[in-house]
Symmetry: C2
Subunit: 255 residues, 2 copies
């Protein structure tokens, strides 16, 4: 290791990147708030001293990152969008698709997130949050008669309510994303195989147990049950050779 000056690798910075940076920072600093408008492209051209194609490249990048939205003909210019987790979801979906993340890893991660959410919810939930969860379970119960589609929607709503009660938006977002990834991967199989009233009743029962533990403030139980619920529900989609990590999570406090 030399003790002289440390040089970092340099990379040529494209003009459009400088523009992206400037606008990103303006948003990060709060100079530009959601709902506010950017100047028109032609105006930006003169402000940045770049050509229109260059400015447009910058806007397309910002747009694809969900920071702004341009509508043709809008005289007010591109709109600054409120933050959304869509970008995060997209990135995580890519992670799953490209980086060969296995089904087992996904479900394992979901068990961790959902279990933690239940634990935190049991210890932090307010009365309003509790009744919100109760309500989603009521919807779930009714939905059994309607069909799997509705049931699944209520299921998601319940987990969402738990995540909200955990008071941690990272858990909320990540759980949402991972849940989406899992569901999209098994959607073809489940839409037919899962349309069983008995299975739905069983699932509902599990969810009621989780809710009961949350109501009782028993975080450990809530976490354990919610992990096991997920395991029971999804283990069938995981090859036996990869079930080790899943079992490691359900056996957690079984001794």
């Amino acid at each position: 290791m030399s003790d002289g000056a440390q040089f970092r690798q340099v990379s040529p910075v494209r003009l459009y990147q400088r523009i992206v940076e400037q606008i990103e920072q303006a948003i990060a600093r709060g100079d530009l708030k959601p709902g506010q408008r950017l100047p028109s492209e032609r105006e930006l051209v003169s402000q940045f001293g770049a050509s229109r194609p260059t400015v447009r490249e910058a806007l397309r990048v910002l747009e694809s990152n969900g920071l702004v939205r341009s509508r043709p003909g809008d005289p007010n210019g591109p709109e600054i969008l409120p933050f959304s987790s869509a970008g995060l979801a997209k990135e995580m979906t890519r992670l799953v698709q490209f980086d060969n993340v296995s089904m087992a890893e996904l479900i394992s991660f979901r068990m961790i997130l959902d279990g933690s959410a239940s634990l935190l919810a049991a210890r932090l939930r307010s009365e309003e949050e509790l009744s919100a969860m109760e309500q989603t379970l009521a919807v779930m119960s009714d939905a059994i008669e309607v069909g799997y589609e509705e049931f699944s929607k209520a299921d998601v709503a319940f987990h969402e309510a738990v995540a909200v009660a955990s008071r941690n938006s990272l858990i909320e977002v990540c759980n949402q994303v991972v849940r989406g990834a899992v569901l999209s991967l098994i959607s073809d199989k489940v839409s037919h195989a899962g349309n069983s009233t008995a299975l739905m009743r069983e699932s509902l029962h599990h969810h009621q147990e989780v809710l009961e533990a949350i109501r009782a403030g028993d975080g450990l139980a809530a976490a354990r049950i919610s992990r096991r619920t997920l395991y029971d529900y999804y283990a069938g989609y995981v090859p036996e050779s990869e079930q080790g990590p899943l079992l490691a999570l359900v056996e957690k406090e079984d001794t």
Copy 2:
């Protein structure tokens, strides 16, 4: 709810988006593997039947998402990059910056991830992985004399080794990202305040305890200790009024 046809909101799809989609899908399908090259911009122009600015907008978006890289003058065309979690990290950093995710939430999330990683590592680790962890601790021990910079690097390496042993790349990546976010948020304070040999020794001791639990295969203890270690280390950066969720995680099995 009508029982007729369901119409979804439509939004005009830009030309550049179609190009992005096609290339993204080609990569997702595996038709384009990392290291392979895309045709030159002018060649893409004729393949897609779009103009160069449009093709360039697509390439800029792909580039900003970390999927490809263009170098001026390269006769082989833009390169398909291997997957990297940089994009995920960027999105999560944005989540923290824009969506007012508090320090408490970040640390809480980190405790969950790191705790789960330790738990899984305790139950799944191989001998090689165990000795890899031991080695990082040895480096950490030596680094105390060198300085905080080195120590911190070895610290990260240890957590990384644990995450690898958890056999779950989602944990690995997310933990990495969240750790980066936490560190970048407190970097200014810690670089001076943390340069204490005593603190480093204490931190090292905690890490040794975690490793011991992992070696013993005691997942619950490993998780508990690693959560507590993080709490002790970072609680000072969290206002007291927001420490509830953190305490909810360390008191987990204290009764």
